[in-house]
């Protein structure tokens, strides 16, 4: 310590000197520009190039948007209004709005039914996506598939109700039997119970086809973006259980089951979806019993479910492999049998790890539902390629029509991937 201090020196400044402001080039917008856009020669060239391309893009696209014509009844009328200027013909969206969303021949008076289903879909999905919502809402989620079927396809209310009763009966039988006979026997019992009720339900529905019935819509008439939504939601929900089963089978120690699952998964992953849709279109019907005539959409749902099931199985297998061995051993040491250990210990953790991957597969699958247009189903892309661009008044409005389709898919897929990122942060229980 020195002996110089405030008492021994002549002057001590008691107030703090305000720091002088940074030089102008090191502050505010200029600093940001210098650091982020012009930090070096290469960077400056890149920036100028980017601005150039951006400007060209905006100059090219803006007038197209700004001059967009609404409310005409054909491309010729649009061209007349535009009179040589560049401009979009957005009237096609107005005039063909219903075709794009509901397909070409969904009865026009019944459009409220799919709209209502679409709104209810959010109510049904909400408790699955956000688990802070009251758990009672899950009851509605359970009812929703039956309700949605009834709303979209119409027919008597007996069909969905008996389907629901059958499912409940099967579940009850399963829980009762599981306590006494174990998992496998209970599963068989549950399936048998449900099947019996469904069979009775089929008889009942055939006996009273007009009880509380909506106008029935044939599956051929369901199309447009609605078809993409139906295929997407149905196939994703069905393929998750299939994927879990295949992943467990592939991880199993039983060589025959494992071999079957490996071959199945690798085969499905090795071929394009379009060939599987060909199978659904021209081949699958041969493998059904002769008198049953399964609808094209059912065959397509089967093949898409198998397809995405194989991909989801690989994602879940990754999750299973990522779990430490100790978790499996802990399950064994607690004396849990295979089904219990999987349900209570392994799968909850493995599925949590797999969620981002599953969401990726789901987004990919939803995009791939547009492929059904190739086997001449009129989904959104099919409706645009077929009836809309094929009609005399709208040939050539492909930018507007496909741009709208792209926008619809973008909004939904981007939304799902943002949700998945949020969920990942939410589920991160480790400390980083």
């Amino acid at each position: 310590m020195s002996d110089r201090n405030a008492q021994s020196v002549a002057f001590v400044r008691e107030t703090f000197v305000e720091p002088s402001p940074p030089p102008a080039r090191e502050a505010g917008v200029i600093k940001w520009l210098r650091e982020n856009l012009f930090s070096g020669p290469v960077n400056s060239i890149l920036t100028i190039l980017a601005i150039y391309f951006l400007a060209r893009f905006v100059i090219g696209v803006y007038p197209w948007f700004a001059n967009g014509v609404w409310g005409t009844d054909g491309l010729a009328a649009c061209r007349e209004i535009l009179d040589g200027a560049t401009g979009a013909c957005f009237s096609v969206l107005q005039e063909r709005w219903n075709q794009m969303l509901f397909g070409i021949s969904y009865p026009a008076t019944e459009y409220w039914r799919p709209v209502l289903t679409f709104v209810l879909l959010f109510v049904a999905v909400a408790p699955v996506l956000f688990w802070k919502l009251p758990r009672q809402m899950l009851i509605f989620t359970g009812l929703f598939p039956f309700l949605a079927y009834w709303l979209i396809y119409g027919g008597t209310i007996i069909t969905p109700i008996m389907a629901l009763v059958g499912t409940i009966a099967g579940y009850m039988a399963f829980t009762r039997l599981e306590k006494q006979f174990g998992f496998t026997m209970a599963l068989v019992g549950g399936v048998v119970g449900a099947a019996v009720v469904w069979w009775v339900g089929g008889l009942l529905a055939a006996a009273a086809p007009n009880l509380l019935a909506f106008e029935a819509v044939t599956t051929r008439d369901v199309g447009g973006f609605m078809l993409n939504m139906i295929l997407g939601t149905v196939c994703v929900s069905l393929s998750i259980p299939l994927g879990i089963a295949l992943a467990l089978g592939r991880q199993s120690k039983l060589p025959i089951i494992k071999g079957f699952c490996v071959i199945f998964i690798e085969f499905i992953r090795g071929v394009p979806l379009i060939t599987l849709l060909f199978v659904a279109n021209v081949m699958l019907a041969y493998f059904f019993p002769p008198e049953s005539n399964p609808d094209l959409i059912i065959r397509v749902i089967i093949m898409i479910t198998i397809f995405s099931g194989a991909y989801i199985a690989e994602v879940i297998r990754g999750g299973l492999a990522a779990l430490p061995r100790g978790q499996y051993e802990a399950g064994d040491s607690l004396g849990l049998d295979y089904a219990q250990a999987m349900r209570l210990i392994i799968l909850p953790q493995a599925l949590k790890i797999s969620i981002p991957g599953i969401v990726n597969v789901a987004v990919g699958l939803f995009k791939d539902t547009t492929l059904v247009s190739i086997i001449s189903m009129f989904d959104l892309v099919g409706a645009i390629r077929g009836p809309i661009l094929g009609s005399t008044q709208w040939t050539g409005v492909y930018w507007e029509a496909f741009g709208f389709a792209a926008l619809l898919f973008f909004v939904i897929c981007y939304g799902i991937s943002q949700y998945s990122q949020w969920l990942e942060r939410e589920l991160a229980t480790d400390h980083r």
């Binding site: 980017a50 391309f53 951006l54 090795g270 081949m283 002769p290 995009k367 547009t370 973008f410």
Partner: protein, 406 residues
């Protein structure tokens, strides 16, 4: 359970209940049940198929492959006319599939690496632009992109007749490239006498470049002597070719396309269906590869970049010499699956009329002969083989690149 008793017949003390409660036998029991269930299902499917075939008076036969196809294919990498067999049509289709898949794989890799690196750039504007590109392409179905790009090309390019006359509406680019709505015409090589020697020299100089680089690297590692890299490689690549070109009396010329009648003749004709599919697949998959590249680069720890910077390497060299080689190990496995995706997505060619194997075997041949099962099975077999081959070779490459721990 009665069916199972014969499988478990054996030791005296064996009780039937052991089949379920004893772990030694339980796995066998379950597998036997699984096999029986599977066999039953397959039998049912087979029975249904046989019944349906009998009802529809159909049979399985592969002879249709040797009948004349009777349809034309617009892009023929090998000899083909409408009198050729269905089998030959399928092979043409298969080659077309491989062509577009190869082109798209190469360009998607380039686009993806550039976009992935630029997305991590310090330049705010560029990185935001690249994010916009990646998100826009990842979140929209590839089928929509293929259709948009194909339709945009065929509507934006002028008709061949626009090139005609003294004051044409459209002009050829550099006098050699013609962009028309029937396709893009590019110059072709005209091989004269001695052209074989010229091409051989070119090939040898490419090999020579690799040999020189290998030698320089060995010299550097053995003795620490640093040879110049860029100029000698360039010289080896170009000089022998030029010498050979003039020494042989200019054996190779360029044949430019020319407007004759209603269309261009000469040169190489790239159809819009090929170009549209190729660009769409490349840009779409490029967005995915960009994400993989970004993840790979971010997986390289920051200390590596800082250490390289401390050694005085320039940013470009840091990327090339330190970050990318390490990131490559993370990038390659997802890259393999992107290549597989390109191959599989190339089957969407059918949407723009590109005659790949889905268009020939799975399209026209199937519709003409009505042999649905045979055609679809062959189609699946082809894609399965290609997928397995790609993953086989890429896995070899992956193993070669993997970090070798000693």
């Amino acid at each position: 359970m009665s069916t199972l008793s014969d499988t478990g017949a054996g030791p005296d003390r064996f009780r039937l209940s052991q089949l379920i409660y004893d772990t030694r036998y339980r796995s066998i029991t379950f597998q036997v049940i699984a096999v029986i269930v599977l066999a039953y299902c397959l039998y049912q499917l087979y029975g249904n198929a046989r019944q349906n075939f009998a009802d529809a008076d159909l049979n399985i036969s592969w002879l249709f492959l040797y009948e004349p196809a009777g349809y034309d294919i617009n892009q023929r990498p090998i000899e083909y006319d409408s009198q050729s067999t269905h089998l030959r049509a399928s092979i043409v289709g298969a080659i077309n599939t491989l062509i577009v898949a190869f082109l798209a794989c190469v360009s998607a890799t380039v686009i993806g690496v550039v976009a992935g690196v630029l997305r991590l750039s310090n330049n705010w504007l560029v990185s935001k632009l690249m994010s916009a590109y990646v998100e826009a392409f990842r979140n929209v179905p590839v089928l929509i992109w293929i259709l948009i790009i194909f339709l945009a090309m065929s509507n934006a390019f002028p008709q061949p007749r626009a090139f005609r006359g003294d004051n044409p509406d459209a002009e050829m680019w550099l006098g050699m490239f013609a962009f028309t709505n029937r396709g893009v015409y590019i110059p072709a090589f005209e091989n004269g006498a001695g052209s074989m020697v010229f091409w051989l020299v070119c090939l040898l100089s490419i090999v020579g470049v690799f040999a020189y680089r290998r030698y320089a690297k060995k010299l550097l590692f053995d003795t620490g002597k640093l040879l110049p890299m860029t100029w000698p490689s360039l010289a080896i690549l170009i000089v022998p070719g030029i010498i050979a070109f003039f020494a042989l009396g200019q054996p190779v010329g360029l044949e430019s396309p020319e407007l004759k009648g209603f269309n261009f003749q000469g040169g190489v004709h790239l159809r819009l269906s090929l170009l549209g599919l190729w660009f769409a697949l490349a840009i779409y998959t490029g967005a995915f590869i960009a994400e993989n590249v970004r993840a790979g680069i971010m997986a390289v720890s920051k200390g590596q970049t800082e250490a390289a910077a401390a050694l005085g390497l320039r940013p470009g060299r840091i990327m090339n010499l330190v970050v990318l080689p390490q990131a490559l190990r993370v990038i390659i496995p997802p890259l393999i699956s992107q290549y597989l995706n390109i191959t599989k997505n190339s089957s969407l060619a059918i949407a723009v009329g590109y005659m790949d194997i889905t268009g020939t075997l799975g399209g026209i041949t199937l519709n003409q002969t009505g042999r649905a099962i045979e055609c679809v099975l062959l189609l699946m077999l082809f894609y399965l083989t290609v997928s397995l081959l790609i993953s086989f070779f890429m896995n070899i490459y992956n193993n070669a690149m993997k970090l070798k721990e000693r």
